[in-house]
């Protein structure tokens, strides 16, 4: 049961549809990393040549200068495909738009066209071991030198760092300020000496993330192009801008066709297990569908409202949270349908393997990009206007704060 929004027609849509039909390569999942990267770059270059890269980005940086309507058409048409652009998503969805908002003319000129063409890959370096939900408690530091800055620290959960050419990194530049001040966002050359990227193995056994270590990494500030995004000491504001792009990016993404906990996949599992005749299972499947479909309709309504001039804003958190909770619901349902078939399975049983992989990676959705708890806070405070909790770390210089598990009793 695949449900997609109605699609209109129109000249732009026809062009998009035709181009995608002719150019999207077969899925790259399972190929060696180097191949995945090569195919992504080739596809993006072709997209750029065809005039479909950066649809809403300004023309002067290589974008198309079009509006959300065209972006929407492209997204709708692209939803039928498994695009190969995974290595480029952070750059396209977060770093690029932030540079469009905050970059100097020189920065835009230097970085954005190559980003758009897929020549250069970007990553985003915010999270640290001691700074998860509380990003602003980060401890990486950048200190001024004669000819720029020197960067030290550790980042985690860095998607795409393994093939990135550049990164947008947050570092503390003044620990005597309170925690949200004294942070600056920099552009770091990921090939510079002192940058170490290590894959981070997640609980499902895969390594989609990295740890990144900076040891005396030099950020040159003596040329025409500053390494600072926005202003020195206003890195938090730059981060908020970037996280806004992240939320939109997550909110707009549709459930993947290959989501092994999506309704289509769960129904296929139910059929294989011969479990669809039991009235209780039928109720469970209906309930699962209802929540998935309600979320699709909410996303569709928010897109329509955006087109009508009312962007979703913090309501992106509603969709993000609902998506995470839906995976928990699905885990319960697949257990009912398959029982021990998702506990242990024949090596060639791809369906059970997919579902088990879904069970073991589902927690990421409730943690990454802001935990469910943080999303609840955002909804309560920024949408409903409920009062914040007492803030205990607002007025204290960062140097004096305890962060992460520093000083913990164990």
């Amino acid at each position: 049961m695949t449900v997609v929004d109605e699609k209109g027609s129109g000249e732009y849509r026809s062009r998009v549809r035709e181009w995608l039909g002719a150019h999207v390569p077969p899925p790259t999942a399972g190929l060696p990393p180097a191949e995945v990267l090569r195919i992504a770059k080739e596809y993006q270059a072709a997209l750029f040549e065809a005039g479909f890269a950066g649809i809403t980005w300004p023309k002067e940086v290589g974008g198309q200068g079009l509006g959300p309507a065209e972006q929407q058409v492209f997204s709708e048409e692209a939803a039928d495909y498994d695009l190969p652009t995974y290595p480029l998503t952070i750059g396209m969805g977060m770093c690029g738009p932030t540079l469009v908002d905050l970059g100097t003319p020189e920065q835009k000129q230097r970085y954005l066209p190559k980003l758009l063409r897929g020549d250069e890959v970007w990553c985003q370096l915010f999270s640290e071991p001691g700074a998860g939900s509380d990003v602003a408690s980060l401890q990486s530091r950048a200190e001024r030198t004669d000819d720029g800055w020197v960067l030290n620290g550790q980042k985690v959960w860095t998607t795409n760092a393994q093939w990135a050419d550049f990164g947008a990194v947050l570092a503390r530049t003044d620990p005597d300020q309170v925690k949200h001040a004294g942070i600056t966002m920099f552009i770091v050359d990921m090939h510079a000496p002192g940058v170490t990227v290590r894959p981070l193995r997640d609980m499902s056994g895969k390594s989609p993330f990295n740890e990144v270590y900076f040891d005396d990494v030099h950020l040159p500030a003596d040329g025409a192009i500053s390494p600072v995004i926005g202003e020195v000491g206003r890195g938090w504001q730059a981060a908020v801008t970037m996280l806004g792009h992240e939320r939109v990016s997550i909110g707009a993404s549709r459930p993947s066709r290959s989501n092994s906990l999506g309704f289509d996949a769960v129904l296929a599992l139910a059929r294989r297990e011969g479990a669809t005749a039991d009235p209780a299972n039928r109720e469970r499947l209906a309930e699962l569908y209802a929540h998935e479909r309600a979320l699709q309709l909410l996303n569709a309504r928010m897109r329509q409202e955006t087109q009508a001039g009312r962007p979703p804003g913090a309501r992106g958190s509603v969709a993000k949270l609902a998506g995470a909770l839906q995976l928990r619901r699905a885990i319960a349902v697949v257990g009912e349908l398959a029982g021990a078939d998702v506990v242990a399975w024949d090596p060639d049983d791809a369906l059970s393997a997919d579902v088990a992989q879904g069970i073991n990676s589902a927690p990421a959705s409730s943690i990454a990009g802001g935990t469910n708890e943080v999303q609840h806070n955002i909804i309560g405070e920024r949408i409903l206007g409920l009062p914040k909790e007492p803030q205990v770390d607002r007025d204290i210089p960062f140097r004096q704060l305890k962060v992460g598990t520093q000083g913990g009793a164990r």
Binding site: E283, A290, V318, E373, H376, E381, L386, P387
Partner: protein, 369 residues
């Protein structure tokens, strides 16, 4: 697919909200729900005057010729105000039934009176608490002396005590049939039921050789399905209104009620609970808009959209009512506070057309599972 309202529809909402602020304030609701009749004839006239009772009735029959999206807007507002009114019985169930059947004479006779508010009608299909039975249940119609007579019992019948006309589904020798019964007919005994929700009245209707007029219908079962699906959309609208108001009032209270030196809305237990209600409301509203749109523009898609609305919104709405009582604490548990009206309306709406399991089962059927 259109999931946002246009300016005209927003104007309609404002007009209805103004009317209800005036004629269905919390104080009035208290008065009306305690009255013997259980609804307010003055409000009924106002609803008729604004054309709201005949919103989906074609202009030829004295209606406004508008659609289900518009009727949903009205129902959202009636839900917001937990207004005690036979609107759902007359302007939804009975009106939809007359439109779904194929009886031009009955339409010409009844629809203008319903749209104009001169008559109140209702539909009698249920025979107990389960889902509607397409066969007419144990109520039978027999032809005698050139006319039809009904025997059996229908319960619960919405607005059954105040309805002037009752549209009944009954079994005939040639399958289920629809009948119109005058409330004053011989052999019709109406008994007021006790109810969980003081803003909603029901009756048991017992028919004993009650004279009835058979209504022309090419496919009475299909007509029933359509009535049920449109009722699902209408009820969803009411529930979305209930949720929204319950949420608003509770958020307002959570901002000002202080315990342990802080507004209770600053505590995550309350904040996150209200965030969940908000999330469920946003989802429900989307599901409703989609269902109402399909009722107007995609009848083939209606059965699925209606079953989705019943499945998703029923429990979501009750959670909102429950949260309203809970986060108001002691005061929310009193009769004087309005929280219980939302709690009870939400629960009665959830179960009105049978248990939630029946809705999920129907959704599964319609998904082809």
């Amino acid at each position: 697919m259109k999931l946002v309202l246009d300016a005209e529809q927003e104007d309609l909402r404002s007009a209805v909200r103004r009317l209800l602020a005036d004629r269905s304030s919390p104080a009035t609701v208290r008065e009306v729900m305690a009255s013997e009749r259980g609804d307010d004839p003055g409000l009924w006239k106002s609803l008729a005057d604004l054309g709201l009772l005949g919103l989906v009735v074609p202009e030829d029959f004295g209606g406004a010729g508008a659609g289900h999206v518009e009727r949903a807007v009205v129902l959202e507002e009636l839900g917001r105000a937990v207004t005690p009114t036979p609107f759902f019985a007359s302007a939804v169930l009975a009106t939809d039934a007359l439109l779904a059947l194929d009886d031009d004479a009955a339409r010409a006779e009844l629809l203008p009176a319903l749209a104009g508010g001169e008559k109140v009608a209702t539909v009698a299909v249920a025979e107990g608490g389960g889902p509607w039975d397409r066969t007419g249940g144990a109520t039978t119609a027999t032809e005698r002396d050139g006319g039809w007579r009904l025997d059996g019992t229908k319960t619960p019948v919405l607005a059954g005590m105040v309805a002037d006309v009752v549209l009944v589904l009954a079994g005939t020798p040639d399958g289920p049939g629809w009948f119109a019964v005058d409330a004053a007919a011989d052999g019709l005994t109406r008994t007021a039921l006790t109810g969980l929700d003081p803003t909603r009245r029901f009756a048991r209707l017992a028919f004993a050789a009650t004279p009835a007029r058979r209504l022309v219908s090419a496919d009475p079962g299909a007509a029933l399905d359509l009535v049920a699906d449109l009722a699902a959309v209408a009820l969803a609208a009411e529930q979305v209104g209930v949720m929204q108001r319950a949420l608003e009032l509770t958020v307002d209270y959570a901002k000002v009620r202080v315990q342990f030196g802080r507004p209770i809305g600053s505590y995550q237990a309350v904040k996150h609970g209200l965030a969940d209600v908000y999330s469920a409301w946003e989802h429900s509203l989307s599901v409703l808009r989609h269902a109402a749109w399909t009722a107007d523009h995609d009848r083939a898609g209606l059965p699925l959209a209606a079953a989705l609305a019943r499945t998703y919104i029923g429990p979501a709405c009750f959670e909102a009512g429950n949260a309203m009582v809970q986060y108001h604490g002691g005061i929310g548990y009193t009769w004087e506070h309005d929280a219980h009206l939302y709690y009870k309306r939400a629960k009665s709406a959830q179960l009105l057309f049978g248990p939630p399991s029946a809705h999920r089962a129907r959704l599964a059927d319609r998904l082809g599972i």
